[in-house]
C-alpha cells in the first residue's frame, strides 16, 4: 500500500477544497491511532468489538451445502456480529476514532440502512450525537432500519434529490460535512471516498479475514482454496479478502449484483445492475478515482439491485485495482439467482441471509463446478431487514425453491 492513498491510478482525494484540511487531519489521525496504536486506540477498539460487538464471529462448516456441491464450505458468520451485519466493525472504529480526534458530532450516509444502524448503535454506545442521511426511496424500502436508528437516538434526514438512494445520500452527507467540518466526523460506510477512507475502512473490516484465515487453518490445517464475498461498495469484500491478498494460492471472488440485466440504457441513464467492477469504467466519483457505472459523457448512471445494500454506481478503488491486476475475480449474479440463494441458505443451513449476502450463494450454485477444495463464504449480514422485500420479490416471480407464497400474496390470508 502506498501512503498517498493511490492503488495504481485509482483512489486519490477528489473533494471540494473546504474538506481538504479535514481529510488531512483524518489522514494523520488514521496513521497515528490506527497504524501506530497511539494512546492504545487499537486496543480499545478490539476490546469494544469483543464486548459490545461479540467478536470473534464463528467460522461454521456448512454441512448440507458442502454435500450439495461436493466442496468443503465454511461460512464466516458476520451475521452474528451485533446489529446483524459486518457494518459495526467499521462504524465502531470510526466513531471511536472521532472521539479520539476530539470531534463532537457524527454524520453518516446509509443505503440499505445497515451502515446507518451500525453507526447509530456505535454513536449511542460511545455517547456521540449522530445524524444519518438516507435517500427517501430507501427510507420507504427499509422502514424497520429507520426506526432502529431513531431508537438509538440518531436523527434521520431524508434525501429527496435524484432517485433518493445511496449515491444521493453520500453527496448530501458530503455537503453537510463541507459546512460542519471543524466539529464533525463523517463516518463513511464503505471502502469508497477520498483517502484515507478506503484504507481505513478496509483496516477496520479486515478483522473478518484475519479471523477467517486463522479459523480455517485451525479447522482444516491449511488455507482455503477460495474466498467468496458479495460486493457493492466493497467493505465486506475487502474485509474478507484483505488478509488473503498475499496468499497467492487463495482465489478471491467478488460477487456483484447483476440486477435484471448487465446492459445499460444510455437514454434513460439507467444501469439495471450494480456491477461496476464487471462492467464499469474508470472515472471520478465521491472523492476517488475508481470503476463506475457511467454514460459516455461521464454522467453517473442510476444503478439497480434487488438488494439495496449493493445498489451503488461505484466501488472501492482498492477492489478496482485488485481486479485490474487479476488478483480478484469479479463475477455477477442476477436478482433471480440471488433470491434463489436466499431461499436455499434459509432452507439448507437454517440461516436467513441478507439479500446482499445471498448473491454469494447464488454464485456458489451457478459456478460450484469451477471451485474445488475449501471455500470460505462471508455471510455479511442476516436477512431480517429484507423480509418485506423478499415477500414482494418472491411473489412477483417464479422462484423454484421458495416456500408456498399463497398466504402472503395480496389478500390471500
Amino acid at each position: 500500500m502506498s501512503t498517498d492513498g493511490k492503488f495504481g491510478d485509482y483512489g486519490g482525494q477528489y473533494v471540494p477544497e473546504a474538506l481538504m484540511p479535514a481529510i488531512e487531519e483524518l489522514t494523520e489521525a488514521y496513521e497515528q491511532y490506527v497504524l501506530e496504536n497511539k494512546d492504545g486506540f487499537m486496543d480499545e477498539f478490539r476490546d469494544r468489538l469483543t464486548d459490545f460487538g461479540g467478536r470473534p464471529t464463528p467460522l461454521q462448516r456448512a454441512d448440507r451445502l458442502s454435500e450439495r456441491y461436493d466442496l468443503d464450505i465454511y461460512l464466516k458468520r458476520e451475521d452474528l456480529l451485533h446489529g446483524g451485519a459486518h457494518k459495526l466493525n467499521n462504524a465502531l472504529g470510526q466513531v471511536l476514532l472521532a472521539k479520539y480526534m476530539g470531534k463532537e458530532r457524527i454524520i453518516a450516509e446509509t443505503g440499505a440502512g445497515q451502515h446507518g444502524t451500525a453507526t447509530a448503535m456505535a454513536a449511542a454506545h460511545l455517547d456521540m450525537p449522530c445524524t444519518i442521511y438516507m435517500g427517501e426511496r430507501d427510507i420507504n424500502r427499509q422502514r424497520p432500519n429507520v426506526f432502529r436508528m431513531k431508537l438509538n437516538g440518531s436523527e434521520v434526514k431524508p434525501v429527496t434529490t435524484g432517485r433518493g438512494t445511496l449515491k444521493e445520500a453520500i453527496s448530501e452527507t458530503m455537503r453537510d460535512w463541507a459546512t460542519t467540518v471543524e466539529t464533525t466526523h463523517y463516518v463513511i460506510g464503505s471502502i469508497v471516498g477520498p483517502h484515507p477512507f478506503p484504507v481505513m475502512v478496509r483496516d477496520f473490516q479486515s478483522v473478518i479475514s484475519k479471523e477467517a484465515r486463522e479459523q480455517t487453518i485451525e479447522k482444516t490445517g491449511s488455507l482455503p482454496d477460495s474466498v467468496i464475498a458479495c460486493a457493492g461498495g466493497g467493505s465486506n469484500t475487502m474485509g474478507s479478502f484483505a488478509k488473503f491478498v498475499d496468499d497467492e494460492s487463495v482465489s478471491l471472488y467478488a460477487v456483484e449484483a447483476g440486477g435484471s440485466s448487465l446492459r445499460v440504457d444510455e437514454d434513460t441513464g439507467v444501469a439495471p445492475n450494480s456491477a461496476s467492477l464487471s462492467t464499469g469504467n474508470e472515472g471520478v466519483l465521491h472523492g476517488a478515482r475508481t470503476k463506475l457505472l457511467q454514460d459516455t459523457a461521464g454522467q453517473i448512471m442510476e444503478s439497480h439491485s434487488v438488494s439495496s445494500g449493493l445498489d451503488y454506481a461505484g466501488v472501492g478503488p482498492e477492489l478496482a485495482y485488485l481486479v485490474d491486476t487479476d488478483r480478484v475475480t469479479p463475477v455477477t449474479v442476477d436478482d433471480d439467482a440471488a433470491l434463489e440463494g436466499f431461499h436455499r441458505l434459509s432452507q439448507t443451513e437454517g440461516i436467513i441471509p441478507a439479500l446482499e449476502t445471498a448473491h454469494a450463494f447464488g454464485y456458489l450454485e451457478e459456478h460450484h463446478e469451477e471451485l474445488s477444495g475449501t471455500v470460505v463464504v462471508n455471510v455479511s449480514g442476516r436477512g431480517d431487514k429484507d423480509l418485506e422485500t423478499v415477500i414482494e420479490e418472491t411473489d412477483a416471480r417464479d422462484v423454484p425453491n421458495a416456500p408456498d407464497m399463497s398466504m402472503f400474496s395480496g389478500g390471500g390470508m
Binding site: 473533494v15 471540494p16 473546504a18 471520478v284
Partner: protein, 295 residues
C-alpha cells in the same frame, strides 16, 4: 488565444481573465447551461452580459454536484432533464453572442471522460483542447483540489487556458501555497464554509481569507452567498477584486420555471439584478479608493 502557449511562470501575462479585473472590480455571474432549456439558457446568459458581466461562469451540469446547495442542484437537474451534455455545452459556447471571457465550471469526471468519447482514452487533454477552440478561457472544478490537479494544469498550460482554484476559509499554510503555485486567472475566494447558496450575511471568514491572500498578486473574486448590491459593495470595499454570484441568479431562473414566465421577462430580471450587483461592486471600488486617498 487558443493554441497559444504560455510557460508556467508567466501564466497571468496573457490571461484575458486576469485582464477583466484591470478596470475596477469584476462582476462574475454564474448560470447552469441548459437551465431550463438550451435556447432559454442562451437568452439568460446574454442578459448577464448586457447587465455588465466582466466574466461569465458557465456551469456544465454533472449528475453528482457535491459542492452545490439545493438551488444550483435543482438547476443542474433541470438542465440535465433538458438534455444538456458536454457536446451541447461546447456548441452553446460557440453560438453564444457575448463579448466577455467565459469560464467553464464543472466536475472532474466530465473533463476526465471526454477523452474517452474523443477516442483518446480518459484524461483532461481532449476536453481542454475542445474548450479552448470553443472559446472558453478557464476552468473552475470544485472537486479537484491542487493535489490532483497537475494533469489538468498541464493541459491548460498547453492550450493557454486558466485554472482557477477555490480558496476555502480552511485553506492555509502549505495547502494555500500548493494551490497558489497552480492557480491562474483569478482566485475564487469561498466566502464561508458550506455549499453554494444565497445568504444575507457576509462572513468574517471572507475578510480573513482576503487577508491571507493579500501577498499574492492575482485578482481575488469572492463567491458563495452574494445576493444583492449592498453585499457586493461591502465585499469589494473590504478588499475583493471581484464578486461571483450564482444562486441569486439561478433563483430568478427557477422562479421563471415555476411561474411559467416568458423568456424575455426572466432575462430582464437577470439583467436588472446584474446591473444592481455591478453598480454595488463599483460603489465598493469607490469606497476602497476613498480609503486609499484618505491614507
Amino acid at each position: 488565444m487558443a493554441g497559444q502557449r504560455r510557460s508556467a511562470v508567466d501564466r497571468s501575462a496573457n490571461s484575458d481573465l486576469a485582464a477583466a479585473f484591470e478596470d475596477g472590480s469584476a462582476y462574475i455571474p454564474y448560470l447552469a447551461v441548459g437551465d431550463p432549456s438550451y435556447e432559454r439558457s442562451k437568452a439568460y446568459v446574454e442578459a448577464l452580459a448586457r447587465g455588465g458581466a466582466d466574466i461569465i461562469e458557465l456551469g456544465l451540469p454533472f449528475s453528482e454536484p457535491i459542492a452545490e446547495g439545493p438551488t444550483i442542484q435543482n438547476a443542474i437537474v433541470r438542465a440535465l432533464k433538458g438534455g444538456m451534455s458536454p457536446e451541447l455545452f461546447f456548441q452553446f459556447v460557440e453560438e453564444l453572442d457575448v463579448d466577455v471571457p467565459l469560464v467553464c465550471m464543472t466536475y472532474y469526471n466530465l473533463i476526465y471522460q471526454y477523452g474517452r468519447t474523443a477516442g483518446d482514452g480518459p484524461g483532461p487533454e481532449a476536453f481542454v483542447e475542445k474548450a479552448a477552440s470553443a472559446g472558453i478561457s478557464g476552468f473552475v472544478v470544485p472537486d479537484l483540489p491542487a493535489e490532483e490537479a497537475d494533469p489538468l494544469r498541464a493541459a491548460c498550460d498547453e492550450h493557454g487556458l486558466d485554472l482557477i482554484f477555490i480558496v476555502a476559509p480552511t485553506t492555509e499554510g502549505d495547502r494555500l501555497e500548493r494551490m497558489m503555485q497552480r492557480v491562474s486567472g483569478y482566485v475564487y475566494v469561498q466566502a464561508r464554509l458550506g455549499t453554494t447558496g444565497a445568504r444575507s450575511d457576509v462572513s468574517d471568514q471572507t475578510t480573513a481569507s482576503l487577508d491571507r491572500l493579500a501577498d499574492y498578486d492575482l485578482p481575488k473574486a469572492v463567491g458563495f452567498g452574494i445576493s444583492g448590491g449592498e453585499q457586493a459593495e461591502r465585499i469589494v470595499a473590504n478588499g475583493a477584486d471581484g464578486i461571483i454570484v450564482g444562486s441569486a441568479l439561478v433563483d430568478i431562473v427557477a422562479n421563471g420555471v415555476e411561474n411559467d414566465e416568458p423568456t424575455e421577462a426572466v432575462a430582464d430580471r437577470l439583467e436588472t439584478l446584474s446591473r444592481e450587483l455591478k453598480a454595488g461592486a463599483q460603489r465598493g471600488d469607490e469606497a476602497r479608493q476613498a480609503n486609499v486617498d484618505a491614507k
